[in-house]
Symmetry: D3
Subunit: 126 residues, 6 copies
């Protein structure tokens, strides 16, 4: 496949998981910082990784949230909580996955992550 | 519930996920280092966390593997690959979850984790 | 012991280290995010870990601050600076412990941690 | 050499990389938190490490930015983006070094770092 | 460009940096663990990232070594020390870059990294 | 003070904490990798940081062990367990400090650290 095809797959994937308006908002943030950041995230992360099979989207979302909780990456956690909802995860599943990290990455990491999830999930529905 | 009840739940949980012989082997390692390490892992990690509902055992295993890949924790990765198999995850799902970490924790973390998974999954079946 | 007993020990421990008003404020934050987070922190972290013997509370506080400085966990650092004061650590001991982390976790981690400690310790006394 | 000589070398080094006004502003921040933090950063980090030969200042700046991107250290990233500019790195080289971290530390780390670099580099020129 | 073109660019890049025999040995390790790991590293890491312009190969190597020192990724450090040599970095530049990490990631990280570099650079020349 | 004076203080400090034979063995390891690594560790880490007041040596040792457990730095953990013993910490205090890290850095970090401590503390007494 060509880069452009991966880009289009990634774009569609992002729109499906986030909705078109939110996908555009998040892309704009990347693009304004560094256009190649947007391009490589769309082509590679969304287009090559999230489009893979074997593990379904909801399980991928929860695994990603687990890892980002452990790593403490703020911006990506915010985004992946939104994506998890788009992939069918409930609020309970998101918080339970974060809590599951307590014995693996420590309670402070869970605390930081839940603050982000709380803020995102309490936003007024659009 | 009492600590002893949590301990028994945790022990049963560990035996179900690992088999009795492997569960005993791993417990012995913890016990020989520091008895309270075994006790708290059995009571809290196995007995209080892994026994929770909302997220099923296989999804918990894959989320744990994702986080341990990101954190680079050697001993726990070895154990959790075994537990994931016991929880019904295929070799493909385990490696796919690790590969999914490439854009989140970097390829070096994936490489280190896959070396451990390869070693564990290539052991002769007991 | 039962979970409820651990919870009560943890609650008393938290109140002793933070004062009753601050303990309630911090618990409320956890509870509003996810009730089980509050429960497990009270029962396990405060009730099972901080109540252990062999190492005294002030030394536990300084060790925790050292580790959180290295890990860069914001919310927990704020809390543990308050707890350290409650456990008898002076401002000098807290900053000295953070400075001791410079050759182990790097100066950037020390800088980030000292900003949090400075903010907490400059709050008007209640 | 004496500590005072290292301090003076470090001070001169910091002023060269940041300009005198910015160097004073940043030193004041360290001094106000903990005077020994300022002293050890000037003597050791600026005076003993940055004054070493073999690797030139611009390459040191880009390597530091790469590592701080991976570690996610906020305050030090802000400072090192400024220092990198003073050491002759272009905006393109700074962002390219951050992007190079995507396969090593993950895209979330790159995203967080680029937000800081964007803010710093968009400040009105003084 | 197509995936296959990126793969071929990445392969050529890897061979240039490591030599053909070492490139094949390292690829075989990835392929034997998980074929898609080899494919994505060749296409994306070697083919899309290392082929980019703006920052030269030697500076990329030193930045990568800085970040991997901070992250403590064993296998990738071994590989990147070899790549750095292929990209024209001297032993002195590699160790100096690691030493530069002391105030940013701590001396323990430098120690671990230098052990790997020492082992790699002391191998008999092939 | 001069660098040479810090070096001598650091050397004496290291010998006091480790014994002369072990101090020489560990210095030789650093020196053989990179002479400046030995020099800066002796002058700065041992000579400038460990010689500071306000926090006593045993508390510094336990805080360092806590942080290295969280960071997972293998070589430095081995060394700091030896230094902790030299600074008067009992085996119980060392393991208790590591266990205290379970809710802060996760059980996998504690497991890895206790394996190192077990190996060091089971060595035949010299």
């Amino acid at each position: 496949m060509t880069d452009e095809q991966h880009f289009q797959h990634g774009l569609k994937m992002l729109q499906t998981m986030l909705g078109e308006a939110e996908a555009e908002r998040i892309r704009e943030g990347w693009r304004n910082m560094w256009p190649d950041l947007e391009r490589l995230i769309l082509e590679f992360v969304a287009g090559r990784i999230w489009t893979r099979s074997v593990v379904d989207l909801k399980t991928r979302s929860l695994s990603t949230i687990a890892a980002l909780t452990a790593l403490g990456r703020t911006n990506a956690l915010d985004l992946n909580v939104r994506m998890a909802v788009g992939n069918g995860a409930t609020k309970e599943e998101i918080f339970e996955t974060m809590l599951h990290m307590a014995p693996y990455a420590g309670f402070p990491a869970v605390w930081d992550a839940m603050m982000i999830a709380t803020r995102v999930l309490n936003e007024p529905r659009k």
